[in-house]
């Protein structure tokens, strides 16, 4: 262990290669591409992108990839184990599990991604503008988000479900409501430090409007961490939708979502005897969330070098 200078990891070596290429002038348009190249060199993140894309495509174009309607009830063929006609068998009222998983994925992904994007847009634009504009408003928003954040996430979500009632739109709204605070704080801390930079003062001296300064010249500096946040909260929201629907408190049961399909697993008999009704969905959720997490990690490593352990 003597004389140990930092041992180079695989990522470090890749980065050296990229830098060497850049210095020898083989690569043009340095900055943008460096992020992309670093991301491309992260093997896990690439796998994440592939798996993510496959699942999203399968779900989006579900009618092409399935032979059965997800709502088609066939009481004669209930509890069928996987067969050629029903790849993943049928459930307790004879619906095709495989097509239910694909159609359910549409809603689950929509809720997860929609919640994360909505929270990011609100949090970031509010964060940038409010912080740039003034102390007092910032104080109020900050206190408010502090209160929201002192609730454990799942408690807050359940509390809002009780107050607002149970529906798909409400769930999406609840995710946005609980998610914007984190993005706001992140954008805020970044903007606070950027605000003191000289180029901002220069822009002010030129007489540019606040709106242009904030959204054209400050916001791009915050996009990296926001992208990371979007991926990680998508993963979190997909998991939460699944958990809530599993408990019967998320999306109403008649709409298929990944969590709602898993809802049958609360029955011990099904849990014991009919593995195809709950195991494949659970695996799909896990793999999907895992792929998003790897993508998020990849983005973080490529935009934020300090995070690279």
């Amino acid at each position: 262990m003597e004389n140990k200078i930092k041992r180079k990891t695989r990522l470090d070596r890749r980065m050296d290669k990229i830098r060497a290429l850049e210095e020898s002038g083989q690569l043009k348009n340095k900055r943008v591409n460096r992020y992309f190249r670093k991301f491309k060199n992260n093997r896990l993140a690439l796998w994440g992108v592939i798996v993510f894309a496959v699942i999203v495509v399968l779900c989006t174009f579900a009618p092409i990839f399935t032979r059965h309607d997800p709502g088609e009830i066939d009481v004669l063929n209930k509890f069928q184990p996987p067969s050629r006609d029903h790849i993943l068998g049928t459930d307790q009222i004879g619906r095709d599990v495989y097509s239910r998983i694909l159609y359910g994925g549409r809603i689950s992904i929509l809720v997860g991604l929609g919640g994360a994007l909505g929270a990011a847009i609100i949090g970031a634009s509010l964060g940038c503008y409010v912080v740039y504009k003034g102390r007092r408003l910032d104080n109020i928003v900050m206190r408010f988000s502090e209160i929201m954040m002192s609730f454990p996430q799942i408690v807050l979500v359940l509390l809002l479900v009780t107050v607002m009632g149970q529906s798909l739109n409400n769930l999406l709204l609840i995710f946005i409501l609980t998610g914007w605070g984190g993005v706001y704080r992140m954008a805020r801390s970044k903007i606070l430090s950027i605000r003191e930079e000289e180029y901002i003062q220069a822009l002010e001296a030129f007489g540019l409007s606040n709106f242009v300064i904030v959204f054209k010249h400050m916001l791009p500096n915050v996009l990296g961490p926001i992208a990371v946040n979007i991926t990680l909260s998508t993963a979190m929201f997909v998991l939460q939708e699944a958990a809530l629907s599993f408990l019967g408190l998320g999306v109403p049961l008649q709409i298929p979502t990944w969590g709602n399909i898993l809802n049958v697993a609360r029955n011990v008999a099904i849990l014991r005897n009919n593995w195809w009704m709950w195991l494949p969905v659970g695996l799909v959720i896990s793999v999907f969330v895992l792929s998003i997490n790897f993508i998020g990690d990849g983005i973080r490593d490529s935009v934020d070098p300090t995070q690279q352990g």
């Binding site: 002192s150 454990p152 359940l158 509390l159 958990a243 659970g282 896990s286 895992l290 790897f294």
Partner: protein, 319 residues
């Protein structure tokens, strides 16, 4: 230091007041009659017809909103949290009943995850860049990606239904009283809960260990000729563990109601499953009060953690 602590506590008061205000507004806005929440069910059942209005008047339900709020707040301080709508029991009794089970589960999971998490994190920091480090980080990622309840279901099927080693639901069997009788029931839920929590602790302790390994005092220790294990474990670890302890401190209060899903999967009779039942039956007062307890616990813990950090590290001060 005392001033710092006091200020830290004083900041909490307006926040808590605001939260109680929200909680009370939620209870008032619920569909149904607020008298079911405020008066005990026996008192209402024994009433002569027409006396309901008199009871209403005597309880002050016809007063303006702000008066009602302050009376309710006063009752909270006296330990009277009102009544649950579905069972008619006082909420304080429900909490007294459910809290021990939740604490048992939460503490077991916390101990397991802190232990495994910090050990694995330190190992992967010391072996940075090795295959082991890589594998551990992938396993950690899997740990946070599998839905908790799904992992619980798989564990139930595997160890309880197929192998039959452990009971799959509940906290105890009738007639069993001591902690050791209950232990088999605790194993599965606490391990499942711990598995998902371990990943976070592991990540955190890895980063903070790496951070402290680059500090000057580590180089000093090494240049004194101390054996490598002493440098790592005595000098490095001590500093690296401070943020990890803080993280663990933050976890306990959020577990009190945050283990809702696992408690439901394993039919564990704790606060979490009570909470879920309350949400499901639209029992607004109970939902509000349990949320209120968990927020209070989180805020109190954050004060304690802040004060401890300030004690450990003189650079931290209130800005």
């Amino acid at each position: 230091m005392l001033v710092y602590t006091l200020r830290r506590i004083l900041i909490l008061i307006p926040m808590l007041l605001f939260i109680t205000f929200l909680v009370y507004t939620g209870i008032e806005l619920m569909p149904g009659d607020a008298i079911d929440y405020i008066a005990s069910p026996e008192a209402i059942a024994n009433l002569a017809p027409g006396a309901l209005e008199a009871l209403r008047e005597s309880l002050g339900l016809n007063d303006p909103f702000i008066f009602r709020y302050f009376r309710w707040l006063g009752n909270i301080f006296k330990g009277d949290f009102g009544y649950s709508l579905s069972s008619g029991l006082p909420i304080s009794v429900i909490v007294y009943d459910r809290l021990p089970a939740t604490l048992e589960l939460a503490i077991a999971a916390l101990i397991l995850s802190s232990l495994f998490g910090s050990i694995l994190g330190v190992i992967s920091a010391l072996k940075r860049g090795s295959i082991l480090d890589y594998a551990l980080s992938v396993v950690g990622m899997i740990g946070v990606s599998i839905p908790q309840f799904f992992f619980g279901l798989v564990a139930i099927v595997l160890f309880a239904l197929k192998l039959g080693w452990l009971p799959y639901a509940g906290r105890t069997l009738p007639g069993y009283v001591s902690f050791f009788d209950r232990l088999p029931h605790l194993i599965l839920p606490s391990l499942v809960l711990a598995f998902t929590m371990t990943a976070g602790v592991m990540r955190y302790s890895r980063t903070s260990m790496l951070d402290s390994m680059n500090k000057d005092f580590i180089k000093t220790a090494r240049s004194k000729g101390l054996p490598e294990w002493r440098v790592n474990l005595i000098h490095g670890l001590r500093v690296a563990m401070t943020p990890v302890v803080v993280l663990i401190g933050f976890r306990l209060p959020s577990l009190i109601s945050g283990a809702v899903v696992i408690e439901t999967v394993f039919h564990w009779p704790g606060m979490g499953s009570e909470f879920i039942q309350a949400v499901r039956s639209q029992n607004t007062p109970l939902v509000m009060m349990i949320s209120f307890f968990s927020v209070t616990a989180v805020l109190a813990a954050s004060v304690v953690v802040d004060v401890i950090t300030a004690l450990l590290d003189p650079r931290v001060r209130l800005d």
